[in-house]
């Protein structure tokens, strides 16, 4: 202290120099005042001095209320410089009730809790009357607030949530008091003070009791036993509306359940704004959880109520926090509703997110589906076009096959034509180099053309070198004979040319019998055929002559006559053999013991034997073999038949019919052939069983 003096000396001296003496002098005046009894520190400690001077602490009493045995005033506490509540015994109570009065103060002072009214001071006034002071709540009693609310006032100011907040505070106070073994026993809205800041305080513990400990009461607690205070407590006993049923019976042992019941009543009133005794009609607007809590708290049977105030508190808490209280057996929907209320924002967020997600997924799926459909459509289209392509391909294939087939046919035809040409050429060559009779037997016009060409060729050859080769003259004669130009043949004979003797005879015999067109009539032609076979069995030559005879414009009767002759020659000229032809149906009917319909001969010296059908020149499509001796159906080869009648023939084997590709119908007699034989026919051949005798 002193050491620092020098350093500050100059500053202090400089600044206070002018008044230092004055100040020093003033200190003597102060000393003088002190000696004259003035407060030495006077203005120095105004508060201290004020309190020191206080003689009467409480002043300005203002009546605030009256209870069972006390009246309360609002007074100014000079020491603490504030207003407090001062309680005094009622004037009617004498000295004997002073302890009962002070008992409440002591009981309350035992409880130090934010929601229990605080006792500040206990004392005795100048008149010797006891008093105690408590905190004076600037606010109002819950009773007044409920009154306002029930009249529809201040509902905005005190919503249910706020009111339940107060209730929680009171529950805490009661739970605390119970933990200190103090029962209130007069809990009601009138004894609950609501402060300016929403704090709730439980007041008026005048009826409270201390529940005996398991061991025994302490001395100070003994003083709080209500029984010590005489009949005063009998007179003032709670408020019926908030009293548990069992509490109304006197001499009942006081329990915490009575306070629980009263709390339930207060809760009822806080919720419905009507006393507990009033029936509440419309409970739909009220949270079912709260109703369940009220029911449990105010159960008639004490053991059915909450076990303690804390449990009640916790259930209300759960309600306020949006959970279902333990007492309420809430179903899933209610729990979900409560969950929604608790986590409204989170739920909204999640819901929105889910919705967005769902929409997104739906969109995605839709897109996917669309794509899928498009793809499917494309696929179907592709398949269709594929099918079309296949069809087209098939068509193309068909066309190609057709084309190939056509080509093949063409080639075949061409080949045939080439073969034909080759054969013709061969024939010509053969004719030039060999014997005319060796000319290949070709069917149809080709043969006659070949003969004509050969004759012309011979003419040329002969013209060039007439005497050179005798064979030329013989072949030329032969060709003339075949084409029934007997006049020309005889002309060669007359020129002295050497030919086959028998033919020379026949040429002279028939030269005069030709008609104007240059061929033999059918009858003479048939005679010629017989003459040719009779001597040297010129079968091949007959065949050739018949083929060449096709060139001449004969009637079908004449041709049938010739064929008939030809069949007769080859079947040993047996009597009764006859061939009839029906032009309308192109059908042939054979009569007589005909056994053979073909003739075999060698065409030339090189090739194999050729089998030729006797009926070929008539080109029949139907053939009636009834009553003939034909037993081998292979005789029908070379004919393009569609129908054949084999009734009354010795035929046993139908197999050869398979070779006739054009055949469609076979007529057989009833039971002529076994079924097995009939079944052996191919499916395109129909078997018709008819009685014998019926003709085509």
């Amino acid at each position: 202290m002193v050491s620092g003096l020098d350093s500050r000396k100059s500053r202090r001296s400089d600044r206070l120099g002018s008044v230092a003496h004055e100040l020093y002098r003033a200190s003597f005046d102060a000393q003088q005042d002190e000696r004259q009894g003035e407060n030495p520190s006077g203005d120095l400690n105004p508060l201290y001095n004020t309190i020191r001077k206080i003689r009467s602490r409480y002043s300005d009493p203002e009546f605030a209320g009256r209870g069972g045995m006390k009246e309360v005033y609002r007074v100014y506490d000079a020491k603490t410089a504030r207003h407090v509540a001062l309680a005094r015994p009622l004037a009617k109570h004498g000295d004997e009730h002073f302890d009962a009065f002070l008992r409440e103060a002591h009981l309350t002072a035992r409880l130090q809790h934010p929601s229990v009214i605080d006792v500040f001071d206990i004392g005795v006034d100048e008149e010797g009357k006891p008093f105690f002071t408590m905190e004076f709540k600037r606010g109002q009693s819950l009773k007044g607030i409920i009154q306002d609310l029930s009249e529809g006032k201040r509902t905005e100011e005190f919503p249910l949530r706020t009111r339940l907040g107060w209730f929680l505070r009171i529950c805490e106070a009661v739970a605390y008091a119970h933990s200190r073994r103090v029962l209130h026993l007069d809990i009601k809205p009138g004894n609950i003070q609501i402060g300016e800041f929403g704090d709730a305080k439980l007041c008026d513990w005048g009826l409270g009791v201390v529940v005996p400990d398991k061991n025994r009461l302490r001395d100070s607690e003994v003083l709080l036993d209500p029984d010590l205070y005489g009949p005063l407590f009998v007179d003032v006993r709670g408020t019926p509306a908030y009293m548990a049923p069992e509490q109304k019976r006197r001499q009942t042992k006081k329990t915490v359940f009575m306070d629980i019941y009263a709390l339930g009543c207060v809760l009822h009133e806080l919720v419905f704004l009507k006393p507990c005794v009033d029936d509440v009609k419309d409970v739909r607007t009220v949270d079912p959880g709260l109703i369940a809590i009220i029911k449990k708290a105010t159960a008639d049977d004490p053991t059915s109520r909450y076990d303690d105030a804390q449990a009640l508190h916790d259930d209300i808490s759960r309600c306020l926090n949006g959970f279902s209280p333990a007492v309420e057996s809430a179903n899933l929907f209610r729990e979900m509703g409560l969950f929604w209320r608790r986590h409204r924002e989170a739920c909204m967020t999640v819901l929105c997110a889910s919705l967005a997600l769902a929409i997104f997924i739906a969109y995605f799926v839709w897109q996917l589906n669309t794509r899928h459909q498009m793809a499917e459509a494309a696929r179907v289209k592709a398949v269709e076009s594929g099918l079309a392509a296949l069809a087209a391909k098939a068509e193309a294939d068909e066309a190609r096959l057709f084309a190939e087939d056509s080509l093949a046919k063409y080639l075949e035809k061409k080949n045939e034509a080439e073969v034909l040409d080759k054969k013709r050429e061969q024939s010509i060559i053969t004719m030039m180099t060999g014997r005319v009779c060796d000319i290949a037997l070709v069917s149809g016009s080709g043969y006659s053309e070949a003969i004509e060409m050969a004759i012309k060729h011979y003419d040329d050859l002969v013209a060039d070198a007439p005497e050179h080769n005798p064979q030329l003259w013989r072949d030329k004669f032969w060709l003339h004979f075949l084409s029934q130009d007997f006049a020309a043949a005889v002309g060669l004979l007359d020129d002295g040319r050497k030919v086959d003797g028998d033919l020379a005879v026949l040429a002279r015999k028939y030269a005069s019998q030709c008609n104007e067109e240059g061929y033999l009539p059918a009858e003479q032609f048939c005679d010629l055929l017989v003459d040719l076979v009779k001597r040297r069995r010129r079968i091949a030559m007959v065949h050739r002559m018949i083929e060449l005879d096709q060139r001449f414009p004969r009637s079908m009767e004449e041709r049938t006559q010739i064929v008939s002759q030809w069949v007769r020659i080859n079947n040993d000229s047996l009597p009764g053999i006859e061939v009839t032809y029906l032009p309308s149906s192109q059908s042939i009917r054979l009569h007589g013991p005909i056994e053979r319909l073909t003739v075999q001969f060698g065409l030339d010296r090189l090739s194999a034997v050729v089998k030729v059908n006797l009926l070929q020149s008539l080109r029949p499509i139907r053939l009636d073999l009834r009553e003939t001796a034909i037993h081998d159906l292979s005789e029908l080869a070379e004919l393009d038949l569609m129908q054949v009648d084999i009734r009354q023939t010795p035929v046993t084997d139908l197999g050869p019919l398979r070779a006739i590709r054009s055949l469609r119908t076979v007529i057989v007699g009833k039971d002529q052939l076994p079924a097995k034989v009939l079944r052996s026919l191919p499916p395109w051949i129909e078997v018709i069983e008819e009685p014998n005798g019926s003709s085509l």
Binding site: V2, L16, A20, Y24, A26
Partner: protein, 207 residues
Amino acid sequence: MSTLDSKETGESATRESLLRRAQADAHGSAWEELLQYYEPFVRRTLRAMGVEEGEADDVCQQVLAHLWGRLVDFQPDHERARFRTWLTRIIRNTAVSEYRKRMRRQRVSFAESSILESLAGDSSDIEQRIEDEWQRYLVDLAMERIDEIFSGNAVEVFLRSVEGESAADIGQSLGIHVDSVYVLKNRVRRRLVHEIKVIREMLEFPS
């Protein structure tokens, strides 16, 4: 509050009787405490008389030694300045005799001779100077305590008002209300006067 009160009054009592207690027990703690207050004053006085800084310590020790030796025999009359007159005499005489010793030992500087002249001058004038110095010393001591009692701008407000600054200017420059300026000024002044009184009672014989 009550304990604080008693402590304060006890301390106050001690201070009041400090000079007496030091007189009664020259070897006790009271003398030690008294020295804490008087040493700075003696040194200050010597410096004011013109004693050089380097020599003031020695002279100061001589003065205090004289004081210590003679305090026991001092009998205060009821004249209030009597102790200080006595003290002044001790200071001056000690200083003069000390300088004379030095002059004998060595040559005398111009400055020293001037001090001696002043010391040997009008005694009533010197006495008045020492009295002023004492008063200012007590005010400074009281201010030390004021600094401990008041916080913030209170002391500054008081000092400025003493220096003649108007309340309005003080309020404006320090950012406080004019009414507060008055209250603070008077509060500090009263407390200061009170503290001066307390210190005076401690370090002076009662008048």
